[in-house]
């Protein structure tokens, strides 16, 4: 098998050829899907755990403490231990809950994250789907997640859950607009909705540099709206601890709670991955115009590493928000979207259109 860290197409091709030489086309497809599915499952589980650990450590650093230190070296096994604990816990269904919806809700939330993650380009050749409408697919599918949250709040038969779910519904529906519009701004610049095409378009220069002012505004709006979409602080109204105890997942326990928890962190990854792909060049290395020596040095670092470095930086930024800011109130959160972000976004689209039309970008 030809393994090349810089380009995974050779690896996937050789696997495909190896399989088709000994199996029928249908069986080959079935085996490949299984491999891909398992790979995603493994990635989501491991990366979710890693993010939980990272959040604990980052949060600890902000709060002048060490974070988990006891289980394993530097507490590395702490999240795994916690996960095992969650697996072993009793699954409680409250009395008078709508049992079918109550059990369905966590699966909707986790399914949506799996669907979205399938279009994320990790490295050259390491992307499952590359639709023509990739960006549209991401925004469309990720908005289904709110259904899971609403169902969880509604079916729990708990007033705190219901308030949390309603807040979350209002919030996600509003911020979807900003996410969508800031992505559209970048699509104008990229000229394509295909995620592979967007990444390819940033070979010479990342879009955040290429589109300068409007791209920067779009990036800021995207990060703010993305934080709100993932229900993280300072927009964590849906689970506002001091007001609603735990919001929409108050009544969930064990593995179902773990699903919500994992989905939150994978959503965090998805928002960071989209920001990386659309604004920060995806897996493309950092290139500066004519500095050929510098560019060649940057090319040495594999695309996979670039991707995760950028994703890590955006995730760190979002954790920074969470551990610094107080929480907004529900009317303020909607004001921010409808009175500030949306007009800024609409104006920004015009600005970007003008920039592209008159060729004012780099």
């Amino acid at each position: 098998m030809a393994f090349n860290i810089y380009d995974f197409t050779t690896l996937t091709k050789s696997i495909h050829e190896g399989l088709s030489s000994s199996y029928s086309p249908t069986a080959t497809l079935a085996i490949e899907w299984t491999i891909v599915g398992l790979a995603y499952l493994l990635f989501v589980a491991l990366f979710g755990l890693l993010l939980v650990y990272a959040e604990r450590k980052v949060c600890a650093a902000f709060q002048q403490r060490l974070g988990p230190m006891r289980v394993g070296p530097w507490g590395l096994l702490q999240t795994i231990a916690d996960f095992i604990k969650l697996l072993m816990k009793e699954l409680i269904t409250p009395k008078n809950a709508d049992k079918f919806l109550y059990n369905l809700a966590p699966f909707i939330v986790i399914t949506v994250t799996f669907l979205v993650i399938s279009v994320v380009p990790f490295a050259p050749g390491l992307q499952t789907f590359d639709f023509d409408i990739g960006v549209l697919f991401v925004t469309a599918v990720s908005s289904v997640g709110v259904v899971g949250v609403l169902l969880a709040g509604w079916s729990s038969n708990n007033k705190y859950s219901l308030i949390g779910a309603m807040r979350s519904g209002a919030q996600i529906v509003s911020y979807e607009l900003s996410v969508g519009l800031s992505l559209i701004t970048m699509i104008i610049l990229a000229g394509t909705m295909q995620i592979g095409g967007i990444v390819e378009g940033q070979r010479e220069m990342w879009f955040i540099f290429k589109g300068h002012i409007p791209a920067l505004i779009a990036f800021l709006v995207f990060v703010v709206a993305g934080t709100a979409e993932t229900n993280r602080g300072p927009f964590d109204l849906a689970e506002a601890e001091s007001e609603l105890t735990a919001g929409f997942h108050t009544e969930y326990s064990g593995i179902k709670f773990a699903f919500f928890f994992l989905a939150e962190y994978i959503n965090l990854f998805i928002v960071a991955a989209m920001a990386t792909t659309v604004f920060l060049g995806g897996w493309m290395p950092l290139h500066f115009g004519d500095l050929s020596g510098f560019n060649a040095a940057m090319d040495v670092i594999p695309g996979l590493v670039w991707f995760f470095l950028k994703v890590g930086a955006v995730i760190f930024l979002m954790m920074w928000f969470k551990w610094t800011f107080p929480r907004l109130r529900v009317d303020q959160i909607l004001n921010l979207e409808w009175k500030y972000l949306l007009p800024i976004n609409l104006f920004n689209i015009l600005l970007m259109a003008a920039v592209v039309l008159f060729g004012l970008h780099f």
Partner: protein, 377 residues
């Protein structure tokens, strides 16, 4: 009775869009076992009714069968963040009744300890205020600095929270040799840390948006409800007993009574933040001038107050704490009543939180700095 009915919530008064929720007795924002029955329409608070008594421990009744020096030990358990001031109030009340003049050294040490305890209490309030607003990082900043004060307390009297440091006639022990050095070191350090609090929370745009103009309490209402302490002073009610009825060594120091006439949640926040600076200044004025002398006046083995009624009030971190003792000349009191600041402050909440959102209710409650055992006693 009619007035009472107005704030009582019954289920047959619920309109179509309204619903009831119980915040507490187990709820993150009530900081203890307080229960608020809240009538909501969507997110808007239409009415609320505090239910107290979940941690009632009958301290006043217990005091009737205890000797006078023993009463002081119970008061630690009421407002545990103002243990020093509560102790002091009981001791002062008994000393005044017996007309005992305590040495100056005792007065100075009591004042310093009271101010340290006020600082520790305000630090904890600040931590929790941030936490209630969703900024969890504040909690660790505040507790980090509070730890230094608790260390001083521990070295002084062996306890960190329930100090039991005052006895009728003076103090349980003298201060330890390095007390002054430690307090000065803490003050120097804390002066650099306090601006950090402002940088983290006070100026934050989300925080000011959440607090400015929210939960207005007018001066008239503050007086009518008997609101005292920083909560009252934020509404412009000059009620600082340290200034207006000085006890211990407060008449020997100069400090400002922090007042604000705004009366909203942000004003209550700012008054407490400014009070920390005033406390620092009081400690600085006293720490180098502690006079030599005895740390306690010699008292009789069995203390008996002359027949009569005695009242002494002090300014705790939450407001006016009063001790009312009725004596019939025996070795234990006939009746003891504590006037706790939290009780009066809490019951304004129905008045000022109506019409605000549930998130504002949490913020308003947080600026009242409630300690539930202080309310329930």
């Amino acid at each position: 009775m009619d007035e009472l009915k107005e704030i009582m919530i019954t289920t047959d008064e619920i309109k179509a869009d309204e619903y009831l929720i119980n915040m507490g007795p187990q709820h993150p924002s009530t900081h203890g076992v307080l229960r608020l029955l809240v009538k909501l329409e969507g997110e808007i608070v239409h009415n609320l009714q505090p239910h107290v008594g979940y941690i009632h421990s009958g301290i006043e009744k217990m005091a009737e069968s205890l000797s006078y020096p023993q009463i002081g030990h119970l008061t630690d358990r009421m407002d545990y963040l103002s243990a020093q001031q509560n102790n002091e109030a009981v001791s002062l009340c008994i000393e005044n009744a017996l007309q005992v003049e305590v040495p100056d050294r005792v007065k100075y040490i009591r004042t310093i300890m009271s101010e340290l305890s006020r600082l520790a209490s305000h630090q904890l309030w600040w931590c929790v205020m941030g936490m209630d607003m969703g900024a969890l990082t504040t909690f660790f900043y505040g507790l980090r600095d509070r730890e230094d004060i608790l260390d001083i307390f521990e070295n002084t009297c062996g306890a960190r929270l329930t100090l039991n440091y005052n006895i009728p006639g003076g103090l349980m022990f003298d201060i330890y040799p390095n007390f002054q050095r430690d307090v000065k070191a803490f003050i120097t350090k804390f002066k650099t840390k306090l601006p950090e609090y402002d940088r983290l929370l006070s100026g934050n745009v989300i925080f000011t948006e959440r607090t400015k103009g929210v939960g207005y309490l007018s001066k008239e209402d503050a007086i009518a409800f008997g609101v005292t302490g920083p909560t009252g002073r934020a509404s412009g009610f000059a009620c600082d007993l340290r200034k207006h009825q000085p006890y211990s060594a407060y008449d020997k120091v100069s400090f400002n009574e922090v007042l604000s006439d705004v009366g909203d949640t942000y004003a209550r926040y700012q008054v407490r933040m400014q009070e920390m600076w005033e406390s620092i200044s009081i400690i600085e004025q006293l720490i180098d001038n502690i006079p030599e002398g005895d740390y306690a006046e010699k008292m009789k083995g069995v203390i008996k107050l002359p027949e009569g009624e005695y009242y002494q009030r002090v300014e705790t971190a939450r407001g006016e704490f009063g001790v009312f003792i009725v004596s019939d000349g025996k070795k234990n009191p006939y009746r003891v009543k504590f006037r706790s600041p939290g009780f009066s402050n809490l019951f304004t909440i129905n008045h000022i939180a109506k019409g605000w959102k549930i998130a504002d209710l949490v913020a308003i409650m947080s600026t009242f700095d409630l300690v539930i055992p202080d309310i329930d006693r």
